[in-house]
């Protein structure tokens, strides 16, 4: 990683790895969604990220904001459901905050991710503990920021974020859902991982691998 910054190709690699993970694990994500939702989260994410990779492949971009505006809009217009607007908003805000640059340092990457998270909150009005993707995303961002604050680079921060996201995902198991489709199950939603938290864990796993 040149000069401790993250390059545009690395960000594309992030997306490519995320696409790979949700596609490989589509059956698993759908199984999680079968237990407390409507059995489509794997299909939704795989469809969306496949569309994203096609779009990126067809129209190369020159700057980070352009890339993520395209990613966000592709997700918004190809996924539907809850995850489409949420992940779409995440990437749109990420791009807007990152700006017309070609690389990001650790702090800039953290700020962009944080803006994405804020977008998810603004759109979905969930709180941490509601058993949603936020429960993986929020601890991931907190870990990322803490690493950067203590002087680590983006690679180390992403690795910490990935571990925190996985822990956040696992911590959704005992929760009773208060947002999204799983909330209709009431107490019966406890005892299962949240599918969106699982895909968000892949998002940070992909980031960490892309920057490794």
């Amino acid at each position: 990683m040149a000069g401790g910054t993250v390059s545009l190709p690395q960000l594309v690699d992030w997306l490519s790895r995320f696409s790979g993970l949700v596609t490989e694990n589509r059956t698993y994500l759908t199984e999680l969604d079968s237990a407390i939702g409507d059995a489509d989260h794997g299909a939704n994410m795989a469809r969306g990220m496949t569309a994203v990779m096609e779009k990126i492949g067809a129209t190369p971009v020159a700057a980070v904001d352009e890339l993520f505006k395209s990613v966000g809009m592709t997700l918004v217009t190809s996924v539907g459901g809850a995850s489409g607007p949420l992940y779409g908003t995440f990437f749109l805000r990420f791009g807007t905050t990152a700006g017309a640059v070609t690389e990001l340092d650790g702090a800039a990457l953290g700020a962009a991710l944080r803006a994405g998270l804020d977008g998810v909150v603004a759109r979905g009005k969930a709180e941490v503990g509601d058993k949603t993707m936020l429960d993986a995303m929020a601890p991931a961002l907190d870990a990322f920021d803490a690493e950067v604050a203590s002087g680590a680079d983006a690679t180390a921060a992403s690795s910490a974020a990935s571990s925190a996201a996985a822990m956040g995902r696992d911590a959704t198991e005992p929760l009773v859902a208060r947002k999204g489709r799983a909330s209709y199950l009431g107490e019966r939603s406890a005892g299962h991982l949240d599918p969106g938290a699982a895909s968000t864990a892949y998002l940070f796993e992909a980031l960490s691998e892309a920057l490794a």
Partner: protein, 346 residues
């Protein structure tokens, strides 16, 4: 590597469905809709079903949409006296904002557009984004009514709230008739909200549905159990209870509806809805049981629907919707309607 990474499983084509590629179910089905209904216009790119004629200038457009797999809802209700357009998402997945925005722009006859949205996080967010876009980009006035009639879900400001289910069918009929009468957007939206507020539903499943892309039942249900308070997406219900006779099932469906809202003092419109996999002979049987209980509770049924109207693919089971109806609702209910799924008076 993540602990939860699983082997890439091969797509098994042996799911027992009348489909080609599971990924193309919606697109392929819309080809059939277009072939079967020359009186409708199908936008295959955006998965929108419109009436054959553009919205009359000055008429409020009433549109709805959601994930597919609930047919005849919504596409089967496009036509005179009901919807102007229906937007389909993938199976059980709400449509995207661009689809909704396109339908909104095209259906607008200058008097604005009513969005009828079932209360699911995905549907609400996607329609919300579409309304923002439609207003910003095309200056189309949009009002939204979110249906949330499912008493199986406990309501609270902390949760996603109740699901929108059966009342959506009745609301589309009544709001569609009001729009056809020439009422303005505010009045149609207000009426639609009153319909939603006066209706309650409760559903149950004997078996799970199977989502084509998933290829197997969403949930497993032992032979001697049923899901009470199930939704229309194969979401497991709130309680898994022992299989019971139709008369007991009717009781378990009607009781929470009557506990949730005071239906006395006005006639009711009642829908006994099939989830898709239960035969009509059973739905009529269930209607008989439900009608008995309602009448015993002092409720006069003025109008009814029995059949598959808002389904969950091939799920076996049924739901009950009760709407407390004033004279206005009844008059609009009786107004002519000419759609694939509901037709009378024309």
């Amino acid at each position: 590597m993540s602990a939860s990474v699983k082997e890439l499983e091969e797509e098994v084509p042996s799911v027992k469905k009348l489909i080609n590629d599971p990924a193309n179910v919606l697109a392929d089905s819309l080809v059939g809709v277009a072939a079967a209904h020359p009186e409708l216009r199908v936008d295959h790119t955006n998965r929108i079903i419109y009436r054959g004629e553009p919205t009359k200038a000055g008429k409020v457009a009433v549109i709805s949409g959601g994930g597919s797999g609930h047919e005849p809802l919504h596409g089967g209700f496009v036509g005179l006296g009901m919807l102007d357009a229906a937007i389909s998402g993938e199976v059980f997945t709400s449509p995207t904002p661009d689809q909704v925005q396109e339908a909104t722009k095209v259906a607008d006859g200058g008097a604005g557009v009513l969005h009828i949205v079932k209360n699911y996080t995905g549907d609400v967010m996607n329609f919300e984004m579409a309304a923002e876009l439609a207003d910003a980009e095309a200056g189309v006035k949009v009002e939204t009514v979110v249906t949330n009639d499912d008493v199986a879900v406990e309501d609270s400001t902390w949760t996603a709230g109740r699901r929108g289910v059966g009342i959506t069918v009745l609301l589309e009929k009544i709001a569609g008739a009001a729009a056809e009468e020439g009422r303005d957007l505010a009045s149609v939206a207000d009426l639609a909200r009153r319909v939603n507020a006066s209706g309650r539903s409760m559903g149950m499943a004997l078996t799970s549905c199977t989502v084509p892309a998933a290829g197997k039942p969403t949930f497993d249900l032992p032979d001697d159990m049923m899901e009470m308070g199930v939704g229309i997406h194969g979401e497991p219900g709130r309680h898994r209870v022992p299989l019971a006779q139709a008369s007991d099932i009717a009781q378990q469906l009607v009781e929470p509806i009557l506990q949730d809202f005071d239906f006395t003092g006005a006639p009711a419109i009642v829908m006994l809805n099939g989830m898709g996999g239960s035969p009509l002979i059973e739905l009529y049987l269930m209607y008989g049981e439900v009608a008995k209980i309602l009448e015993k509770s002092g409720i006069t049924i003025a109008r009814n629907l029995v059949g598959n109207y808002i389904t969950s693919l091939d799920m076996a089971g049924c739901s009950v919707t009760v709407l407390k109806a004033d004279d206005e609702f009844l008059k609009l209910w009786d107004a002519p309607v000419n759609t694939a799924g509901l037709r009378w008076g024309v």
